[in-house]
């Protein structure tokens, strides 16, 4: 019997890290997206410049999540 505790700790650390990164990016993306005027009806529409920054932030966040998901699909396909 040879239980590889080191590997288990590695699995824990890596999955914790990757999950945290994806969830934080996705949440930040949603927060930024809602500031662009999408989804949340506000009485004061945000300024154009502000809106552009928010849109760019949101897109960057979502694109990063997609990249991680793409890496995951790569892992699944290549085994």
């Amino acid at each position: 019997m040879d239980i590889n505790w080191g590997t288990l700790a590695g699995v824990f650390a890596i999955s914790l890290g990757i999950t945290a990164v994806v969830v934080v990016l996705f949440s930040l993306g949603l927060t930024a997206w809602s500031r662009t005027g999408h989804g949340s009806p506000t009485s004061h529409p945000p300024g154009l410049r502000h809106q552009k920054t928010a849109t760019a932030t949101a897109l960057l966040c979502f694109a990063s999540c997609l990249a991680v998901a793409g890496y995951g699909i790569g892992l699944i396909v290549t085994g």
């Binding site: 590997t7 288990l8 699995v11 999955s15 934080v24």
Partner: protein, 379 residues
């Protein structure tokens, strides 16, 4: 084709039947939270999961080199033992499905094989050290790791989006859930369809129908992929209800956090060579998502029942596998008798399930009331 004996045909059909039960048992792993939050309608969810499982089956056909991966003396495993082990696994899968409990199909198969080998070749052919290392430790570690990861993920998701409108947050996370759930389903197809392909391929090799070291023939890949995806499409609605509504009350951010955690843990573990059970990871991550949200209700009674079913999986499947091996060892008549009894039992379970049917229409109704515990605020 002399090599296609009655026993071999029985093994292949039983393996495909096991694959089907594996599919409908595990639909819940990928889709329960998406169905519970309304990210996908029940019928669309099972269709997506079915297609992705089929795709997964074709993506990876690198099947196992041994039936048990070393938990029993593989050189002593006969066709009769494989057949009996599969019967034990199928019956345990059906019992747990009837009770709506998510339990690992791999563990059921290992349990069935252990029982069959124990009866057929004696206790010395069972490697208890390997059972601890490959089944017991991962079974304890899986839900704990997934639970902690999902708890943190849920906490972060709620903290970061606390000033954003609930409507936008719900809509956004529901969209994200479609992606995260699909990844779980795809990973499942590559893992679990392979298991059945491996069993059939090794059975064919053992009878000489295939040469040593041969890969699975196309019809094995196709039939195993179809069986698991049809099973997935059939949707184990009873288990979906337990995981989506029974364990805890799931909202979209929790669903996204749970599925993302499950995907990360499953991929990290299989990539780093410490395979964990998909079912146990998914159950643990849903529990973690329940604990991570302020004032979420976690039904510990349901979690306890699931834990008990995990404890029983190995011995129960082993007991059935052992009895089946003893009867099937008496010759073709014995094999036929085991098959008939198993079919009758399956029909019985189906009839019992019709008394309180769970289907796409009522899957999102909370199960029979049970005292719920309010979890102390985590966020």
């Amino acid at each position: 084709m002399d090599s296609f004996s009655f026993l071999l045909v029985a093994v292949i059909l039983t393996a495909l039947a096991f694959d089907f039960t594996n599919g409908f048992h595990d639909t819940a792993n990928s889709m329960a939270t998406s169905i519970a939050t309304g990210a996908l309608s029940p019928r669309v969810a099972v269709a997506v999961a079915g297609v992705l499982n089929l795709a997964g089956a074709f993506l990876s056909t690198e099947v196992a080199k041994t039936i048990s991966g070393g938990i029993v003396e593989d050189s002593q495993v006969s066709l009769v033992m494989i057949f009996a082990g599969l019967i034990g696994a199928i019956l345990w899968n059906l019992v747990t499905w009837l009770l709506g409990l998510p339990s690992s199909s791999s563990h059921a198969l290992f349990g069935g094989l252990i029982g069959a080998v124990w009866v057929g070749a004696g206790g010395s052919a069972v490697r208890f050290g390997a059972i601890i290392e490959k089944i017991v430790i991962p079974a304890v570690a899986s839900p704990v790791v997934a639970c902690v990861v999902a708890l943190l993920a849920t906490y972060l998701a709620y903290v970061i989006t606390r000033r954003t409108s609930r409507r936008a947050v719900g809509k956004g996370f529901r969209a994200g859930q479609i992606g995260s759930a699909s990844l779980v389903a795809l990973a499942h197809g590559t893992n679990d369809a392979q298991k059945t392909m491996g069993v059939i391929t090794l059975a064919l090799i053992s009878t000489g129908a295939l040469s040593h070291g041969a890969g699975p023939p196309w019809w094995v890949v196709l039939s195993a992929g179809l069986a698991i995806s049809l099973g997935t499409y059939a949707g184990g609605w009873r288990i979906i209800r337990t995981m989506g509504k029974g364990l805890t009350d799931i909202q979209a951010p929790q669903g996204f956090a749970a599925e993302t955690s499950a995907t990360a843990v499953i991929l990290a573990s299989s990539h780093m060579g410490f395979p964990l059970s998909t079912t146990q990871v998914c159950t643990g991550s849903i529990l973690g998502a329940g604990l991570g949200r302020r004032l979420a209700h976690v039904r510990w009674g349901v979690a306890g029942r699931i834990a008990v079913s995990w404890l029983l999986t190995l011995p129960a499947a082993a007991a059935v596998g052992g009895v089946a091996a003893w009867v099937a060892d008496q010759g073709d008549l014995g094999v036929a008798l085991v098959a008939v009894v198993a079919l009758a039992a399956a029909a019985g379970f189906y009839v019992l399930s019709r008394r309180r049917p769970v289907n796409p229409e009522n899957v999102n109704e909370t199960p029979a009331p049970e005292p719920a515990t309010t979890v102390k605020p985590a966020a």
